[in-house]
C-alpha cells in the first residue's frame, strides 16, 4: 500500500486514520455510556436505547426549526440548548418509562428486554406518525461543519473534535456523578445491596428512577450529537443497538471504565481494518473478534474477579 505514496502522504493518512479511530471511539462511548449506566448499574437491558437517542435527535431538529423561524440570530449556538433539551426530554421520558414499566420488572432482566423492545416499536411508530416517515435534515451552524486543515492532507473535522470534547465532558460528568457525589454513592450502594441500601434510608426507588433517567438522558445527548454525523429518521435508532450492546458487554457490564476501554478497542480495531479491507468485511471481522473474545472471556474485558 505504501508503494504509490510519499512518506509524508502516508504518515498523514495514518494520522488521519488514527483520528478517524478516535472519532469512532467517541461515538461508541457516547452511544454506550447511557446504556452502561442502565445496564451496568441496574441490570436492565434497554432495547429502546436507540429510540431514546433518536428522540434527542428529533428534539435537536425541532430546536433548529424553532430557532431558524423565530430567533435566527441564535442559530450558531442553538446546538448547546438543543443538547440540554435533548437530555431533559429523553431523561424525562426515561423516568416515565421507569415508573410505568421498568420498576415492575427488576427481578426479571430478560423480560425487560422484551418489554423495552415493545417500547422501541411503539416509539418508532410514534416518531413516524408525528415527524413523518421520511428522514429529517437537521441543519447545523456552519462553524460546526467545517474542518481545520493542519497540513495539505491532514484535515481535522470540527464535528469530530466536537464529538470528542463532548464525549470527554459527558464521561467526566458521569464519573464525577457516579464516583464523587453523594448521589453516586447511593447508586452504587443500591447496586451492591438493594435491601441494605433501603435499610439505611436510601430511597432506592428514587435512585432507580433517576439512574434510568440519567442513562436515557445521556442517550438523548448522544442522539443530539449524532445529528452531526448520522441520519435522523424513525428507524435510525436500530442502527446503533447491536454495536452499543456489544461495547457494553465487551467492556464488562458493571464497569464504566471497561465500557470506555472496550469502545476504544473496538473502534481502533474497526477503523484499522476498514483501512485495509472493505467496510463490510471489516465490520464482520470486528464483530466476530468481539464475539470470539466474549466466548473466551464472557465476563468482558474489565471485571473484578468476585467472591461468590
Amino acid at each position: 500500500m505504501i508503494g504509490d505514496y510519499t512518506l509524508v502522504e502516508f504518515s498523514s493518512i495514518l494520522a488521519m486514520q488514527g483520528f478517524a479511530g478516535l472519532i469512532l471511539f467517541s461515538v461508541f462511548v457516547l452511544m454506550a455510556l447511557g446504556l452502561a449506566i442502565i445496564f451496568g448499574q441496574m441490570g436492565v437491558i434497554n432495547m429502546a436505547h436507540g429510540e431514546f437517542m433518536i428522540l434527542g435527535a428529533y428534539v435537536t431538529w425541532l430546536c433548529s426549526h424553532f430557532v431558524t423561524a423565530y430567533v435566527p440570530a441564535l442559530f450558531p449556538v442553538y446546538f448547546f440548548v438543543a443538547m440540554a433539551l435533548a437530555f431533559l426530554v429523553s431523561g424525562a421520558l426515561g423516568m416515565l418509562v421507569e415508573w410505568a414499566m421498568i420498576r415492575h420488572l427488576y427481578k426479571r432482566p430478560l423480560d425487560t428486554l422484551l418489554a423495552t423492545w415493545g417500547l422501541s416499536l411503539i416509539l418508532q411508530q410514534l416518531y413516524r406518525s408525528v415527524f413523518g416517515a421520511r428522514e429529517v435534515g437537521v441543519s447545523l451552524p456552519d462553524w460546526m461543519m467545517g474542518s481545520i486543515a493542519l497540513t495539505d492532507i491532514i484535515e481535522v473535522p470540527i464535528n469530530g473534535i466536537f464529538v470528542m470534547v463532548l464525549t470527554m465532558l459527558i464521561s467526566l460528568g458521569v464519573f464525577i456523578l457516579m464516583f464523587r457525589s453523594a448521589w453516586g454513592r447511593r447508586v452504587r450502594a443500591v447496586v451492591q445491596n438493594r435491601a441494605m441500601a433501603g435499610a439505611v434510608g436510601i430511597n432506592t426507588k428514587k435512585v432507580d428512577r433517576v439512574t434510568f433517567g440519567l442513562g436515557c438522558g445521556v442517550a438523548g445527548v448522544a442522539g443530539s450529537a449524532f445529528t452531526m454525523i448520522g441520519s435522523t429518521g424513525p428507524t435510525a435508532g436500530q442502527l446503533y443497538i447491536v454495536d452499543t450492546f456489544l461495547v457494553v458487554v465487551f467492556g464488562g457490564a458493571a464497569s464504566l471504565i471497561g465500557t470506555i476501554a472496550s469502545a476504544f478497542t473496538i473502534s481502533q480495531a474497526q477503523s484499522t481494518m476498514e483501512f485495509f479491507m472493505s467496510g463490510s468485511m471489516a465490520k464482520v471481522l470486528t464483530l466476530l473478534t468481539v464475539v470470539g473474545i466474549l466466548m473466551l472471556r464472557p465476563e468482558g474485558l474489565f471485571t473484578l474477579k468476585m467472591r461468590r
Binding site: L114, G118, L126, I241, V242, P298
Partner: protein
C-alpha cells in the same frame, strides 16, 4: 409406574390442536389462506423450540432466526440448484449455476454448494448444519457459564454478523435478495395449489411430530431438570449433572426445531432471505412464544398463529397502528400476563370448563377450547 407422558388434559389439547390444523383449517380455508397459515405454522416450530429452551430452560436466545434461516437456506440451495438446470439458465453466461451467481461473475458452483445437489444430503443438512452451529455456540458459551442477558446479547450479535455476511457474500448467497424463484422439488412443482395443499399437511404433520418430541422431552426427567436448572442452576450442578451439556442439548434441539420450520418455510413460500436471520425476526419469534405462554408447547403454536394472523389482518386495515399494537402486546405480555395465553387459559377458561363439566356429565366439545383461546386473544 411411569411418569405419565400426557395427562388427560394434554391429550385433549393435542387432539384439539391436531383437529384444528389438520381438519378445521384445511376444510374452511382456500389455498391462499391455508398457505398463509402454513407459513405461520413454520414460526410455531421456532416458538416451540423457544418454549423448551427459554420457557423451561431459561436460556433466552435472540438468535433463533439464525437457525430458521440456516435450515431455510439449506433447503433453498437444493431447490435453487434444481431450478438452475442448464436448460433453464441457458441465457446466462455460465448456464447451470444459480442466476445470482451468474450476475456476480461467479463462473463455477462453489464447492460447498455441490453437496446440495443431493436431496438426502440436503435433508440431513437442514437439521445438522444449524445443530452443529448451535452446538458450537452453545459449547463455547455454556461451558463458560455465559447465560441470561449475556447469552441473549451475544446470540443477537451473531445474528447480526451472519446477516452482514450473507448480504456481503451475494455471489454465493444471493445477498439481500435471498435465494428466490424456487420452483420444483425433485421435479414436483411446489408452486401449484395442489402442492401448497400437500405441503401444508406435511408441515402440519411435522409440527405435530415436533410437538410430540418436545412434549417427550418436557415430561422426561430432562424436562424437570430444565426447570430445576432455571431455578437453581448450582443445585443441579451439585446433584451431579453437567449443566452445560444439558443446556447445549436443549439449545441444539431448539435450533433443530427452528431449522425444520425454516426448511418448511422455504418450501411453502418459495424463497429464503437474510431478513429472517436478523435481529428483528428473532425477537418476534420470542414474542410468539411469550404470547402463547412460554411454558406451553401448544401455546406456542397458538401464539404464532394468533400474532401473525393479527399482524396480517391488522396491517391490512391499519398498517400504522400495527406497530403500536405489536409494541403494546410485547409490553402487556411481559407485564400483565407473563404466562401468556396458556396461563390465561389455565386461570380463566379451565375453571369455567370444570364448572361446566360438573354440571353436565358429558365432557365439553373438544374444539371449544381453542376457540375460547382464539377468542380470548382476539379481544
Amino acid at each position: 409406574m411411569n411418569a405419565t407422558f400426557y395427562t388427560r388434559r394434554e391429550w385433549i389439547a393435542l387432539a384439539v390442536l391436531a383437529a384444528l390444523i389438520l381438519i378445521v383449517f384445511p376444510a374452511t380455508m382456500d389455498v391462499f389462506r391455508l398457505n398463509l397459515v402454513g407459513k405461520y405454522l413454520t414460526y410455531a416450530f421456532v416458538a416451540a423450540g423457544l418454549v423448551l429452551c427459554w420457557g423451561h430452560g431459561g436460556i433466552l436466545s435472540l438468535g433463533q432466526g439464525i437457525f430458521f434461516g440456516l435450515g431455510g437456506y439449506c433447503m433453498a440451495m437444493f431447490l435453487k440448484l434444481e431450478a438452475s438446470s442448464p436448460e433453464n439458465t441457458a441465457i446466462q453466461s455460465t448456464p447451470g449455476i444459480p442466476d445470482f451467481m451468474d450476475w456476480n461473475q461467479v463462473t463455477e458452483l462453489p464447492f460447498w454448494w455441490i453437496p446440495f445437489k443431493s436431496f438426502p444430503f440436503t435433508l440431513a443438512a437442514v437439521v445438522l448444519v444449524p445443530v452443529i452451529f448451535a452446538y458450537i455456540i452453545g459449547a463455547a458459551m455454556f461451558k463458560r457459564r455465559v447465560g441470561g442477558v449475556y447469552f441473549a446479547i451475544i446470540t443477537q450479535a451473531i445474528a447480526a454478523i451472519l446477516t452482514i455476511l450473507i448480504i456481503g457474500q451475494q455471489g454465493y448467497t444471493g445477498g439481500v435478495n435471498g435465494i428466490t424463484d424456487l420452483r420444483t422439488l425433485l421435479g414436483w412443482d411446489i408452486r401449484t395449489d395442489s402442492a401448497k395443499f400437500i405441503l401444508y399437511f406435511v408441515n402440519a404433520a411435522l409440527l405435530i411430530v415436533v410437538l410430540l418430541l418436545g412434549q417427550a422431552v418436557r415430561v422426561s426427567k430432562f424436562g424437570r431438570l430444565l426447570i430445576a436448572m432455571r431455578d437453581k442452576e448450582d443445585r443441579v450442578r451439585f446433584s451431579g449433572y453437567s449443566v452445560a451439556d444439558f443446556k447445549i442439548f436443549i439449545f441444539c434441539l431448539a435450533a433443530a426445531f427452528s431449522a425444520i420450520g425454516g426448511a418448511m418455510f422455504t418450501l411453502q413460500v418459495g424463497f429464503m432471505s437474510p431478513s429472517f436471520v436478523g435481529i428483528v425476526p428473532s425477537i418476534e419469534m420470542v414474542i410468539f412464544a411469550a404470547v402463547g405462554g412460554r411454558l406451553s408447547l401448544f401455546g406456542a403454536v397458538y401464539g404464532a398463529l394468533i400474532v401473525n394472523w393479527a399482524k396480517t389482518s391488522f396491517s391490512e386495515s391499519f398498517p400504522e397502528l400495527w406497530l403500536f399494537a405489536m409494541g403494546g402486546l410485547f409490553i402487556a405480555v411481559v407485564m400483565a400476563f407473563p404466562n401468556g395465553l396458556a396461563g390465561l387459559f389455565r386461570s380463566h377458561v379451565e375453571p369455567l370448563l370444570a364448572k361446566l363439566t360438573r354440571k353436565s356429565p358429558s365432557p365439553p366439545a373438544p374444539d371449544a377450547t381453542p376457540a375460547e383461546a382464539v377468542k380470548l386473544a382476539a379481544e
